[in-house]
Amino acid sequence: MNFLNPASIALAAGLTIPPLVALYFLKLKRSVRLVPSTLLWKKSVEDLQVNSPFQRLRKSLLLLLQLLVLILAAIALGKPMFETADAYESTVLLLIDQSASMGVVEEAGQTRLEIAKEQAKLQVDSLSDDARAMVIAFCDRAIVVSSFDTDKQSLKRKIDSIEQTQSTSSLSEAFSLAEAYAQNLIIGGEQPGSDIAPVSAAPPATVFLFTDGKIEDADKVALEQFDVTKMRVTNVGLRDDNIGILAMAARRNYEHPERLEVTAIVRNFGSKPVTVDAVLYIDGRNVDIQTIILDPTPASDATRTSADPELGHVKLAAFDDIVFGGGGVIEVVLRVDDALSADDRAWAVIDPPRRARVLLVTEDNLFLENVLQTLAVDYSTMTGDQYESASENVITTDQRSAFDVVMFDRHTTDRLPRGNYLFWGAVPKIEGVLAGETVDGEIIFDWDETHPILRHVAVETIDPIRWIDLTLPRDAVSIMEGRRLPVMSYLTRDGSQFLISAFSLIGEDELGRRFRNGDWVASADFVVLVQNMVQYLSSNIATQSKRGVSPGEPVTLPIPEGVETVEITGPDGVVHAIPAARYQTIHFARTRQVGTYTIRPGVAGSDVFTVNLFSETESDVAPAKTLTLGASNVNAQAGAVPINKPAWTYFLVALLVMLLLEWIVYNQRVFV
């Protein structure tokens, strides 16, 4: 038993009990009655006093009862609580999960977040009056909803203001925030001028975590200040019936770019088999429908966590040969009524089919021309002089390069509008990049075989005879290296990409005779390398849909120059006006809702982006029974949070009983 408001007990008791006792001390004004003789009366009174050891008590029974009534009333005013939870803490931290899985509507018609908020408010109610509580809502980011406060009404209002998001959940930031605030609390709480080390004086904060246990980084949380054993995890939610899209992509046929192939990985997280219709929409038009039969998720954890499509509970929805020559938004919708709706839809943006435009600046290079002919690209050729003298509108469009990739074969230039450039045996004239003497007899010593450019390329067959000594800035990414010199490097500057190869395909000897710079240029590896290079540099016009971002993830968007304000319309129709003056890109982080976001005015091809949940942790809505926090397991308390229940009602009932008793005693005394 504890009291939320112990001061009021003393106040109420102090104000009422002394006057009551004083009233009893006052001489009772008795009415006078004449009797023939007091002989027997006196004797009777004496007898009673002598015979009853509790006579004094009997005499003051009414006083005792009235005192009891007052004491009970005072105790009831002190808000007594039954301690079903742990002892009261002076510092309490309420962490409330607002991630996508908290949006599951439970049987009672409330979402998990609403239940969690109710529980958190009950917890606030059961705090003692001088306890400080802090509220942090977390999804992929953590927000301090209320810093340490003792005002319960304010805390409850702020808890109510927590909104549902469709983001994934992450606890690390929440704990970092909490620890930072807890330290501030100590420093701020000390007397000015005192010299007490803040950490040693850290208050023992009790952490109440309201979640369904679906936290992606729970095991990575580093708890420095908070004692895991003191943490109380309240597990909200019971439902596990959810079907979600875990991934989705649209790809154009390489040979027939007007044909689309859309695939989505669909998984049943529930314990019952389901049949679900997956519907494909392109720009809002219903294009195709597929029925998928999904087995229930196996009970064992090993297979449960696996997303292998071979398993019965994970299926691939594939829509083949969808004819769509334009660009637009592709949407896959699962027609199902399940726990979580955020993962029943997935979006992807695909640009109109277009071949990459490649400009080859060379005096004469059959190898490259032949390779470009075999690739699905539109290419044109210029000599170095033609390039330098070409008019601006040929080279640039919208202040960007008019070509997706510009290949310079042994041509060094500073005419480099924003774009993607590939240099063979030459360097761009940009700061930090210098071409030195030619070097013979080097070999390729090391390379990054994971780099997309070197995919399916047998680097060991590349045997250039001569290359140039390159000096590159520190931020250049080395793709191939000689023993001491860079061979091929990747560099970005001001929105432009540069691939710089130290060797060219055709070399010239001292006499000006041209020779093939290595045998490998006649091999298939060369073709693959060039294709990789063109694809890598022109990835913004790739034939597959853009990945999109996860909810809450910031997105970097290119914007047309000279635009003052960009308006971004979210899936909920809310328009966010972003000031964009003097910037070429903007960062947009209000991506909490899944769906498509439209940028106006936007750069063609980047004016729409999508936000998809694609989170197995969030889609697996079955609440976790235990939560691994850092290195410790914390058992989640299912159902209601063990709050301290108010006990004042019992005191009130006891008070009423006492009043009744007092009434009976009084009547017995008065009416004999």
Binding site: S31, L39, S44, V45, R58
Partner: protein
């Protein structure tokens, strides 16, 4: 009857009841010698027609009482003895302390009615009647009344007595015993609420070998008090006060104490040959006189 003040007699005794009383006489368990010849035979030899015994003649005896027949047969002189007829002393002691002026009808009135009835019977039988009113001593007295024609005096006396003062049976008993050496019937009418104790008073009276009758008269309010609340009970006699908070327990205790007190008087009286009678004022007084006194042999 004719000489009675009608109003006075009506007040205490009604004529029909007095007619019933005419048939009655007071009987004493003891036979006493009176001052005057009366209508009762006493143990003393006298000149009544009632033969008692013989004795030898001694010189100086009245020759009229010699039994000549025996002398003729036996040749010896025997004197015939006869019982003496004498009057009976009847004393009625009425408690006129303030506590007797209580109840409705008051205990005092009830006592006067009983006293009037006894007096009437006594006077009707030519007994010598003395009436005393006492509180902390003998206050009023009417002594030596004899003959029914003086009934009006009795009534006048009973009507005029006032109830006042505290009751003191000890002092009264002492005074009475000194003043009244003749044996006879003594009837005490009182509530016997004696703060100084009733025993000493009785002891003085018992010393004179009276034929004692004690009648304790209480009002129904005293037997079953009808009190409520926190009270200051004030004694009407001495202004003594008892502060009580009436409760069921207290009332029960009072009842027990009252019963024990009455029982103690009864036992005291019974052991010493005193006839004790308890009555409440709601018992009709004629019932007391005609029934209870008869049962106890006071009236025949």
């Amino acid at each position: 009857m004719a000489v009675l003040d009608r109003k006075q007699s009506d007040d205490l005794l009604d004529p029909a009841f007095m007619n019933k009383l005419d048939q009655l006489a007071l009987m004493s368990k003891k036979i006493f010698a009176g001052k005057m010849r009366g209508e009762r035979l006493t143990k003393r030899r006298g000149d009544s027609a009632e033969f008692a015994d013989y004795r030898n003649y001694v010189s100086g005896d009245d020759l009229r009482y010699l039994d000549w027949n025996i002398y003729a047969r036996l040749g010896q002189l025997f004197l015939k003895l006869f019982l003496q007829e004498e009057d009976l002393h009847v004393s009625v002691l009425i408690d006129v302390s303030k506590s007797m002026d209580w109840g409705d009808p008051s205990k005092g009135r009830y006592a006067r009615q009983v006293a009037a009835a006894i007096s009437y019977i006594a006077l009707s039988n030519f007994d010598r009647l003395s009436l005393y009113a006492y509180s902390d001593g003998l206050q009023y007295e009417l002594t030596g009344v004899r003959g029914r024609r003086l009934m009006f005096k009795v009534m006048e006396f009973l009507t005029k007595i006032e109830f006042d003062g505290t009751s003191n049976l000890t002092a009264t008993g002492k005074q009475f015993a000194i003043r009244h050496p003749q044996p006879g019937i003594v009837l005490i009418l009182s509530d016997f609420f004696e703060k100084g104790g009733f025993e000493d008073g009785f002891r003085y009276l018992l010393g004179r070998n009276y034929d004692l009758y004690a009648v304790q008269i209480l009002s129904p309010e005293e037997i079953e008090p009808n009190l409520v609340g926190d009270l200051r009970l004030q004694d009407v006699e001495d202004d003594d006060a008892a502060e009580v908070t009436i409760s069921r327990a207290l009332i029960n205790r009072y009842r027990q104490n009252l019963q024990a007190y009455c029982e103690s008087i009864k036992q005291y009286c019974t052991r010493r040959g005193v006839s004790y009678l308890f009555t409440s004022t709601d018992v009709p007084f004629d019932q007391i006189v005609l029934s209870y006194f008869r049962q106890r042999g006071l009236i025949q």
